[in-house]
């Protein structure tokens, strides 16, 4: 270990000069410039603000968020929690927010899976597979998302009606009313099983952490998978069986002019999800590809030379390094999906933007409506980036 000697003179604090009130003093210039810029910006904002206040008075527009507790009277087609038009604006906006989350979360999961597959396909040694992935990435990224959404929506609207619905697999119907899938009838037993699964996952996580810590101490491997299997599969199954093992599948069937039962995806939601997923997958594919290529070939070879199995090579050596490159741009793609879900308003899916827009048209309170939209997205963006920063810090390279 070599330590460079530090010149003691460099440790001395610079001499403190008294502040001279002169333009040639850097600190005076800094203060003057800042006062000027802040003052100018403040003056502009104050001017805009006073204009706004005046205009609101002249046009007799009410201000404040009092309208949130008034009756909304706007119909919403898709709602995760009960809603009727007699409910308040606040509840309507809450439904819009949940709809945004519904499309963003499902979109993030699907785009990650789909994008990773395409990114790996792009690196395939098979020329045809690699070229197809390349063409997909290039085409999808060079077309505006809004155009793609309108295109998918036009295709879905051009599908036959429920009576002539496409039926590719038993129980799956695709028509101009959207996509119908079979779904299990949710009962209490399923909720208990889900709870058991979550508890099992938490326990497995702690168990794994403990096993790794012990392994570091004495070097003996302690397999985690028997415990994981027990907690994640056997325990929920046992709970489910103990609760009576209910299993009824709710099949969609044609009744009159439309379908009943099953899981329903409206054409608007389906088009939005399809558009967001395929679009973002094109970007994620490039990120994944760059991440894998960023790991030097020597790392693979060195890991193999150490005698690691190919699964271990991937898990212990390559992925940790690739993830470091992948995570930051992936975060901005997740943020993009969330922000791009606001394009829903163009095809009539009622997300937060769409409902806030209707609200501000009905009440005339434009400032409050837009403030709500911005606040919602800022808080979503902030939470995603906080989470991803935390994750990134966890996997970041620890330098000595």
């Amino acid at each position: 270990m070599s330590q460079t000697t530090i010149d003691p003179r460099s440790l001395r604090a610079p001499p403190r000069r008294p502040l001279r009130l002169s333009w040639s003093d850097e600190r005076v210039r800094a203060i003057v410039w800042q006062i000027l810029v802040v003052g100018l910006l403040g003056a502009i904002l104050w001017w805009l603000w006073s204009n706004t206040v005046h205009n609101l008075e002249v046009r007799r527009i009410a201000t404040g968020f009092g309208f949130l507790s008034r009756e909304a009277g706007l119909p919403i087609a898709e709602n995760l929690i009960p809603y009727s038009p007699t409910d308040t604006y606040f509840r309507a906006l809450l439904i819009g927010f949940l709809n945004t989350l519904k499309v963003a979360v499902v979109g993030i999961v699907l785009a990650t899976i789909f994008g990773t597959l395409i990114g790996i396909a792009r690196l395939s040694k098979n020329w045809l597979l690699s070229k197809i992935a390349g063409v997909y990435i290039e085409v999808i990224r060079d077309l505006p998302l809004l155009l793609q959404l309108l295109f998918w929506y036009a295709i879905l609207q051009g599908l036959p009606g429920p009576r002539q619905a496409l039926n590719p697999v038993d129980g799956v119907f695709l028509s101009n009313r959207g996509l119908k899938l079979p779904w299990i009838e949710w009962q209490d037993a399923h909720s208990y099983a889900l709870l058991a699964f979550v508890l099992g996952a938490v326990f497995t996580w702690f168990y794994r952490r403990d096993a790794i810590a012990k392994r570091i101490l004495d070097g003996r491997p302690r397999p985690v998978w028997p415990m994981a299997l027990g907690c994640l599969v056997a325990l929920p199954l046992a709970v489910w069986a103990a609760a009576g093992a209910p299993w009824t599948v709710d099949w969609p069937e044609l009744r009159g002019f439309n379908f009943r039962g099953g899981l329903n995806m409206s054409p608007e939601y389906f088009a939005l999800l399809l558009g967001l997923t395929t679009y973002t997958a094109g970007f994620i594919a490039e990120i994944v590809r760059a991440g894998i290529l960023a790991v030097p070939h020597g790392q693979w070879e060195a890991a193999q030379a150490l005698g690691l199995r190919s699964g271990q090579v991937l898990k212990q050596v390559v992925l940790p390094q690739a993830l470091r490159v992948i995570i930051p741009p992936m975060t901005s793609q997740y943020l993009n999906i969330t922000k791009n879900s606001s394009l829903a308003v163009a095809i009539g899916y009622q997300d937060i933007v769409s409902i806030a827009n209707t609200t501000l048209n009905q009440t005339g309170q434009a400032i409050e409506g837009i403030a709500i939209i911005m606040l919602v997205y800022l808080s979503i963006s902030l939470s995603i980036s906080l989470f991803m920063n935390w994750y990134n810090a966890r996997i970041a390279l620890v330098e000595r």
Partner: protein
Amino acid sequence: MSDITLNAAPKVAEAAPRTAPISQIGFVGWMRANLFSGWLSTAVTLALGYFIIRWAIGFVDWAFVNAVWSVPNNQTQACRDLRGVGACWAVITEKHRFILFGTYPFEEHWRPALCVALFVGLYVVSAMRRFWRKELALIWAVTLAAIGVLMWGGVLGMPYVPQERWGGLVITLILATFGLAFAFPLAILVALGRRSKLPAIKAICVIYVELIRGVPLISLLFMASVMFPLFLPEGMNIDKLLRAQIAIILFAGAYLAEVVRGGLQSLSRGQYEAADALGLSYWQKTGFIILPQALRLVIPPLVNTFIGFFKDTSLVLIIGIFDLLTAGKTAIIEPAWQGFGIEVYLTVGAIYFIFCFAMSKYSQGLEAELNRHRAR
């Protein structure tokens, strides 16, 4: 010097050079290596090949064989009779002028067409490295002014066309190009401000960038369309296109600022310190030393960001501005042409694709060229 004789092997008649086996070289060899290198690869190739050929035949049938290319005066019955087995390109034949130029007076369509040509010329000139000098700013100013004159008219015998009647491709190009022309200087200032040592200025720039990047463009466009009128004093009014343009500039400024900041950060400290040691003032240091190097570094990501904005201008559809996509969507509102969205969106998509693909290829080529000195 002693003569060293290599131990000569017993002489063997030299074998005549043979060509490599046919299965290892040429087309067959390439196919074996890249398409059929194993059972999995073979299966993938066969499955993909089957799907591609089936899909291509279906597409050719739909787009060319069974397609209807024109119909007499809006009689779309011929198209409706196809029931989806063929494309109705008649909608494009009939509406292409509307999709490209919107509601601009029909006899004057040469003017927006010329503007589009000017825009393309401007992009081509800006893309050439021999024009990367101060005069480029002048070329931009002159071309943009000429485009303004052409679009409004009212001089040189061209009738005046109010801005409400502009539409189509030229609006898309105006929003993207003017957006870039104003957002870029703003972005440089903000990027410098964000790295400034002055706390107040740094705070303002950070808040601006993070605020804009945290919200979707739509919310800014809504703000432009419903809130801007409230901001201005009574009687003062700016038109809708300009308001959307301001929103796009503010949006683009924040994103470009981050790209420029990346360039500023990647310069080594030595450059800053050397400039300080020469006794240059802040603006001399920035203008002569830092920016020329930093901007050159970030040209490829700048082009990629610009592709993003070019696509994002289509969002003005939501606040009812008549750009290319809006014109396409409006063209099929008429009852006679309803239901032919796929044909129209494919055509409009092809136009967007040509612009974005050209820019993306350019950016890739440029990146390779600028990095050539690093490749050893």
